[in-house]
Amino acid sequence: MTAEPQKKTPFVPEVLGRSDYAIIGEIVEPNTKVLDLGCGEGELLQWLAENKGVDARGVEISGARVKHAISRGVSVYQGDIDEGLADYPDQAFDYVILSQTLQQTHHPLKVLHEMLRVGRRAIVAFPNFGHWTVRFTMMFRGGAPKTKLFPYDWYDSPNIHFLTVHDFEALVSAERLVVERRYFLAGHRKIHAFPNLLTEVAVYLIRAQ
């Protein structure tokens, strides 16, 4: 693994219209084996297969999305992330990706440990609940936050576990996981100061000790 890149430009390009995908695309080494949890319609996996030559697999709970993913040639199976990894043998993948889904799982910690059982490394991207817009709306509106990052009303939000950059750092440290790389994104910019306040989406590359 290369060290955390110190690029001069603070800007992150887009992959499929998303800067967190660009980061993931940067992290994943070519010709590896990748499992994407909550892979949606398989866009990222298809991109990784075409651009990085990875052996791409996915899990997705929505039948309609699975259908689209398989139609585009990606090997996706319809299943629940919370239960779905048990069948995989240990260390079956080089990377297990969880992109903006951790906050939607019922047992995030269990999912994290399962990811690191079936994969040598885990890539976790999540929206930061500590972002200043969230704090601002709670402070001044007094309602459940509804922002660009968390666009749902409280009653139809798929997000059930809210976490901040700070929370995630505390968790990996308590669980003695190794953070190989961390990226803090706000739009297309990389954040270097006050990440817990300014990060919209955080991307972590972690592994077990």
């Binding site: 993913a69 040639g73 199976y77 319809q78």
Partner: protein
């Protein structure tokens, strides 16, 4: 697309039960062109009552194939791109050797002297056909129901001969419920005096028994929803109950029609032998677990089930997927929403087409 059946004869086939069948005929059809590198061949495996005529319009009968909505130019199995083969199974009655074939030793039909066959025997004969066509590796083996079981058997028995497998609406082994329905069908046939211990080829066949067996089968192929939608409690050509045991309800009329129509195209003894082969099928055979059965398999899998299929429920497809995942095999799985029950794989093909087209295209790309 007008198609013509071909037939190839093999000297002999050794069977799981120890017997040898000689000679053995295989009726088959092909669609599309085999490419020069022979990398675009797909073997379609038919379900219980299917035959070699999977697609196109039959030269002999003028009828479309049983999966004509899935196989052809621009369809799921695109014959502009792929070379598609379908053969009648061993034990069948549509051109391949089965109980109605003449036993060369006696000059009479085998009838019940035909050996009891297995899905593995059926697949071994298909492999002989593929060998005779000089195809080393099939791009895919695909089928629904019993066709799916054959696809699984192919992947396990000849792992180096298949690039991918598409088992649809099927199982790795019959449950008690599935065996039970088959047994009802067999008993209906054997209870018909015209069955005559299987010796009816020179006289009246057991039409009533076979028709009842087919009626039971048809119920299991539909769903509560699809039957309600198709028939409800509508009466057939009358305003009031007849207060007799003629046809009152539409559903009765439909089942009687399906039953009697089946008699004209299917052999009762084939019914017995093929259902037995399905009931005996167990992919774990000789292995401690299902996952162990897949240990040599290198194939890519697309597993499909249908939400309203209660004959081959989704949990059975999920068992296949779980076993494959535990071997870290490349597997895609989707449960498609459909009201058509088990029949969905034959009739509700729009989404099935999308899945198979994408899966085959990406698989084909990998072998180029």
């Amino acid at each position: 697309m007008i198609v013509q059946a071909s037939c190839v004869r093999f000297e002999s086939l050794s069977l799981d039960n120890g017997a040898t069948l000689a000679p053995v005929d295989v009726a088959y059809e092909t669609y599309g062109e085999l490419n020069p590198s022979k990398s675009n061949a797909i073997l379609i495996l038919h379900a219980f009552s299917g035959d070699a005529h999977a697609a196109g319009i039959s030269h002999e009968t003028g009828k479309p194939g049983w999966w004509d909505n899935m196989i052809g130019p621009g369809k799921a199995f695109d014959t502009n791109k792929y070379f598609v083969i379908c053969s009648n199974i061993l034990g069948g009655c549509r051109g391949s050797t089965g109980p109605s074939s003449i036993n060369p030793a006696t000059g009479c039909p085998y009838a019940m002297s035909f050996p009891v066959i297995t899905i593995a025997d059926i697949v071994r004969l298909q492999k002989m056909l593929v060998d005779s066509l000089k195809i080393d590796r099939l791009l895919s083996v695909a089928g629904g129901s019993m066709g799916g079981m054959q696809a699984l058997e192919w992947a396990v028995a000849f792992p180096d001969r298949v690039v991918s497998a598409i088992p649809i609406a099927c199982t790795t082994r019959h449950s008690a419920q599935q065996i039970a329905f088959n047994e009802v069908g067999r008993q209906a046939i054997m209870a018909d005096p015209d069955w005559n211990d299987g010796n009816y080829y020179d006289r009246k066949p057991p039409a009533r028994g076979l028709a009842v067996a087919r009626m039971v089968g048809h119920i299991t192929y539909m769903s509560d929803d699809s039957m309600r939608e198709k028939f409800g409690r509508r009466l057939r050509g009358k305003e009031n109950f007849g207060f007799d045991f003629d046809v009152d309800f539409e559903v009765e009329s439909y089942l009687r029609y399906r039953g009697s129509e089946f008699v004209n195209r299917f052999d009762a003894n084939s019914y017995l032998y093929i259902t037995k082969a399905m009931d005996y099928f167990d992919l774990t055979n000789g292995n401690s677990t299902l996952a162990a059965a897949f240990s040599a398999s290198q194939a890519r899998f697309l597993v499909i089930s249908f939400s309203s299929d209660w004959l081959y429920p989704s949990y059975q497809s999920q068992e296949i997927v779980r076993a494959l995942r535990s071997r870290n095999c490349d597997v895609a799985y989707c449960e498609l929403q459909s009201n058509y029950g088990h029949d969905a794989f034959l009739v509700d093909v729009a989404e099935e087409t999308d899945l198979i087209r994408g899966f085959l295209a990406s698989t084909y790309e990998k072998v180029q």
